[in-house]
Symmetry: none
């Protein structure tokens, strides 16, 4: 089984947006063991879309469309597919109810053109849209599977993960089961990790080991194929053990986890609370920790201390510290972490101060970061980083390092 992803939308051809949908679906299909041979992008033009479908049918078993399911006139994906396949579009009552509910919930008036979104290809399996209005569809005709997904990633991604994958698996060849596990590493580069385990990567064909770098993290996706799921799992266990012997100290989690998820989980287990004083990260640590549902048991609040006045007046950093060492200093990071913990009455206080860029600050170069970590009953630790990314990347990297350091400190304490 091989697949082609057809993204429909003139905004892609005008370069207004990037085709992240093709990336997302490709990753997911790789996990299902389905090869993707082509991505195609075509505009909101029925003739060219029809031509693209005809080409795809000659070379691909599964054709996945994204975009063009909305209420407006230039949304024409399902209309074009219906004409091409000789299928009717029929009103789906459940989808229509969903759209009505959506408008009711958001207190808005439903305009007539929104009804169009509840039309589906006759005989198709409907994929509910939990985050928007237009439902997705899966249709089998002759030798092909056609899947239609909405364009906005925040609707498409959860729809595909929750409903699309399962529907595809059921239709696709499933005599052997594919089991995947993602190992997540932090604090080691992709090249260094690969060097450590290159012999394992080269020797293995089942399970396969695929490294992937991104955002300062490295992940390894292990995928085992076997008719018996339990055997596939034990094949994964075995190769994970070998990898762990080489680079286990950098392994922090699995699959969809993140440093923040691991940190929140560990804090909950240990019944510890945390606060933050953020200068260069401007609230990113706190925004990330509160993006996790249920964070309120470990996080009560914190401060964004962008200016020196706030560091001094609200967070009580000594004027002398700011004058003598500057805000971007080990001393300031230490006081920020300790004072934040005291003011908010938490077990842990973390601080971030540094130079995000693009310009240097206090004569310190872009990428200089100090992270203070104050844990009740322990000596405060300040870590210095020298980062080399853009402003946004440096801020994000600093937050990840902060989580990583706390995790390491708490886990080491646990094992000691």
């Amino acid at each position: 089984m091989n697949a082609e992803i057809i993204a429909v939308g003139s905004e892609l051809l005008l370069g207004q947006i990037v085709n992240t949908n093709a990336r997302f679906i490709s990753q997911e299909l790789a996990g299902l063991g389905i090869d993707v041979y082509y991505h195609t992008v075509v505009g909101d033009n029925p003739d060219r879309l029809k031509a693209a479908i005809t080409i795809a049918e000659k070379r691909s078993d599964i054709i996945i469309f994204t975009g063009g399911l909305g209420p407006t006139k230039d949304d024409l994906t399902k209309e074009t597919i219906a004409r091409h396949l000789g299928k009717q579009l029929v009103m789906d009552d459940a989808a229509l109810d969903g759209i009505k509910l959506y408008f009711k919930r958001t207190n808005r008036e439903m305009t007539e053109n929104n009804k169009k979104q509840a039309l589906i290809l006759e005989g198709s399996h409907v994929l509910p849209n939990d985050h928007g209005m237009a439902p997705g569809m899966l249709l089998k005709k002759d030798a092909h599977l056609y899947m239609l997904l909405p364009g906005p990633p925040k609707e498409m991604e959860p729809m595909f993960s929750k409903y699309g994958k399962q529907a595809l698996s059921a239709e696709a060849d499933s005599s052997s089961i594919l089991v995947s596990r993602v190992l997540r590493f932090f604090g080691i580069g992709e090249a260094a990790l690969e060097t450590e385990i290159i012999d394992l990567i080269e020797a293995q064909s089942n399970p396969t080991i695929a490294p992937l770098a991104g955002d300062g993290e490295v992940t390894l996706r292990l995928t085992a194929k076997h008719s018996d799921e339990a055997v596939a799992v034990s094949m994964l266990d075995e190769v994970e053990k070998k990898i762990g012997e080489r680079v286990g100290e950098f392994l922090y989690g699995y699959d969809q986890s993140s440093l923040l998820n691991e940190l929140t989980k560990l804090l909950k287990e240990k019944k510890l609370t945390i606060t933050a004083a953020e200068s260069l990260t401007g609230g990113m640590f706190q925004q990330n920790i509160t993006s996790i549902s249920g964070a309120s048991s470990v996080f009560k609040g914190g401060i964004v201390c962008y200016s020196n006045e706030v560091k001094h007046q609200i967070l009580q950093v000594k004027q002398e510290t700011l004058e003598k060492y500057g805000a971007v200093s080990e001393q300031c990071a230490q006081e920020l972490a300790e004072n934040a913990g005291r003011i908010f009455g938490t077990d842990i206080g973390i601080s971030f101060t540094g130079v995000a860029g693009p310009e240097e600050l206090e004569g310190k170069p872009v990428g200089t970061v100090y992270i203070g970590i104050s844990i009740k009953g322990k000596q405060t630790v300040v870590k210095k980083l020298t980062l080399s990314g853009t402003r946004t990347a440096n801020r994000g990297r600093a937050v990840k390092y902060g989580c990583y350091y706390i995790l390491k400190m708490l886990r080491t304490a646990q094992n000691a």
Copy 2:
């Protein structure tokens, strides 16, 4: 003249990277007045690449390839094109000198396989690579133009901007110039906006009007074509004026701007400072505002007040308010905004409190949000939202609404 962009690389089909090259080249071609009808992605496989070229030749005048020009075995773009077109690959001395220089500059030993990068299609116009080794090429054969560009964006983008565009313009018909303008709207849905201006969309072919929704915003891209750039611009002005008469109250900015950019710009102009007290948004507003370089002149710091203790103890919300109305209430939002402004000594205080989800809170349903806006010398305003997205979407949407409300209040004051 129309164009197709073919990106070559299995890493794209595996979802390891996103095809940002297609976006970049599309934007640049739009500026040259060349329509892009298709993007194609194909793996490092000579047969499938050849098939993709054959398809492209049937439907596109200009075919632009990215990727597969490197030194390794799976880099086979130019080899495949050479075979397909019946052309020889010949050594380009200038390119070879460039590669030798590159190794010398980076203090590395040049391995034999790197020479392969200096091979070019006979008769092609060479595009120098100022940021890497593999040169680009432009070749005219029969009715087609073939352009080959390297895959890494940091090499491809400057090469295309500096050499590729000029070479294409010279070859392509450039009698008419294309000028685009993006209008950015907030507070109105895509369908509602389209309903308001459907007659304009249907009547216009030059300029064209293309709506695009995403992340709670709607944009309209206006594109005018004319041999005289000044005339094209005035054509845009005219249609923008017509649109403005219908939905101008929702128009907040242009092109690559964002609500936060507009807000920061306006605060700077008016020399106003702002702080935030964030409950459901957990620091997102502050993180966003500090993501803009130079935000320090308008933002000094703020509070994340996730728990009621922090709202009461640090932000001085009355215990009575929390008990009688709850944290998710108009009253609490008002006190948070006013007190934050007072504590941080700023002109504006904004507060966000609500139920991000997935569970309801204080008996209030998910999506209930109160945004308090306290502007010095004015009555505090509290806006209530009823959102219907995921936890993350609701938080993001709340931040955007917050920016939008402040913008409206300040702009209205300006015009009054």
